[in-house]
């Protein structure tokens, strides 16, 4: 019987990492990022990575770790403003970035996973984002053609998962994780709660197990908060 469950992040990534590969990493800011898997990629020493991720972590946390180790050659992101090291490496010419509007990024990833090589969107028409891309009119409005994205490996974080690879995300930690899980040759998931098949309601499964090749139980996610905002008790 195929066993998708691995003892830890390093074991789960064994054999998957190659210099120059393309990696998708879930999360929005530090919310819902695959912490353990990112750390294991950093520890592995794999380099010249193209990383597709909405953000680039913050200094020392999340993808920020891989910036410290200079493993990233190129980022495909919508916003990297929280990271000083990123700014410095970018200005020093050590890494490049392909800025993609957040919704276009999400849709490109979904398209990649759904067998759609290209689609048209209004987003970015008339801006630098559309430069060099095909423009086209439909029903009197102008659209730009964007391409699907597909990675060698996707790493995602979920709240619950079963040994079959079925995943459920929690609140806004869902974000880019479900699409990325569909858009890579191999998808590795870390879950806060690992359960047996049958323990998840089949109507509530957000990522069916078909998309998940390897899974680890990671109950100790640190889940950093970037902007801790509160209101006074009344």
């Amino acid at each position: 019987m195929v066993n998708k469950v691995y003892p830890d992040a390093t074991a789960a990534l064994d054999g998957l990492l190659k210099d120059g590969m393309t990696l998708m990493s879930g999360g929005f800011g530090l919310c819902g990022i695959p912490e353990a898997l990112i750390d294991a990629v950093a520890t592995s020493g794999v380099k010249d990575l193209t990383v597709i991720s909405n953000n680039a972590g913050v200094d020392g946390i999340g993808l920020g770790v891989m910036l410290e180790t200079r493993q990233i050659k190129k980022m495909v992101s919508s916003y990297v403003g929280e990271n000083q090291l990123f700014a410095q490496q970018f200005l020093d010419g050590l890494l490049t970035v392909e800025f993609t509007p957040q919704g276009t990024l999400a849709e490109r990833i979904r398209a990649g996973g759904a067998g759609i090589p290209a689609f048209f969107t209004k987003t970015g028409v008339g801006t630098t984002v559309a430069e060099g891309k095909e423009l086209r009119e439909f029903d009197g409005a102008e659209y730009v053609m964007e391409r699907g994205l597909f990675a060698d490996v996707a790493i995602v974080h979920a709240w619950k998962g079963d040994t079959e690879g079925n995943l459920i995300y929690r609140k806004t930690a869902r974000n880019f994780n479900p699409m990325m899980a569909t858009a890579a040759e191999v998808t590795v998931a870390e879950v806060e709660h690992l359960v047996e098949p049958g323990e998840l309601d089949p109507d509530q499964i957000m990522t069916p197990g078909i998309f998940v090749d390897r899974i680890i139980h990671f109950p100790t996610a640190s889940k950093h908060i970037e902007q801790r905002t509160t209101r006074p008790r009344q």
Binding site: P101, Q102, G126, K171, R174, M179, I225, P232
Partner: protein, 215 residues
């Protein structure tokens, strides 16, 4: 004399309608949520994957899995739903959000908007701004009328664009401008802020604009 940030937000809140689904940008637009009229049902969308965004949590009740697009901790409401980024931007791109209120560096008289990068400075990225202005039916900009004394309402934006012909209304500390983004009606000054004068606006505006009758 001119509107304060809160007065600008209060004015922007008058664009809300009962039953609206609204996306608020960071900065002054965030303040708009303080001025939603009592009894009006307005649901706030956060583009990272949440509809029905509640206020900041009480101290000690922050949840790292529950943040808004500004990465701030927020709370749920009884109306809340969560979804993926793809579904969130399908909602935005598909024109389902009634109103987007956001800040800007520059707005041109034809509705062009620049609010994401300044050449020469480190580029942080556009986040969801390009998707919002391209997809949301009605786009309202709230911004200071000038930056370091220079006009922000221009004939043509000089900064890289976020979107072309996307802005419907601009609320500054000096007044309110409508833009006929789909037609050829150009920009019209429709309200003066408390204490602002036509002359003050004329001096601080590069864009061509008409003045609504009665002002």
């Amino acid at each position: 004399m001119a509107w304060t940030r809160d007065q600008m937000a209060e004015r922007a809140a008058r664009e809300l309608r009962d039953g609206f689904y609204v996306n608020l940008g960071i900065g002054i637009p965030t303040l708009v949520s303080n001025y939603i009229p009592k009894g009006m049902n307005v649901q706030l969308q956060s583009e990272n994957g949440m509809l029905g965004m509640g206020p900041f949590p009480y101290e000690g009740e922050e949840d790292a899995d529950l943040i808004n697009a500004g990465k701030q901790t927020v709370t749920e409401l009884p109306t809340t739903s969560f979804f993926s980024s793809a579904d969130s931007f399908a909602m935005i791109r598909g024109g389902h959000i009634n109103l987007s209120i956001l800040g800007a560096m520059q707005v041109a008289e034809n509705g062009d908007l620049a609010n994401w990068m300044i050449p020469g400075k480190m580029v942080k990225g556009m986040g969801g701004a390009m998707d919002l202005v391209a997809g949301v039916k009605r786009v309202v900009v709230v911004m200071e009328h000038t930056a370091k004394g220079k006009p922000k309402l221009l004939k043509k934006c000089t900064l890289p664009l976020t979107g072309t012909k996307v802005v419907d209304l601009v609320i500054t500390d000096l007044g309110v401008f409508e833009i006929d983004k789909a037609g050829s009606g150009g920009m019209t000054l429709v309200e003066l802020a408390d204490g602002a004068t036509l002359e003050e606006i004329a001096e601080n505006t590069e864009a061509a604009y008409s003045v609504a009758s009665g002002l």
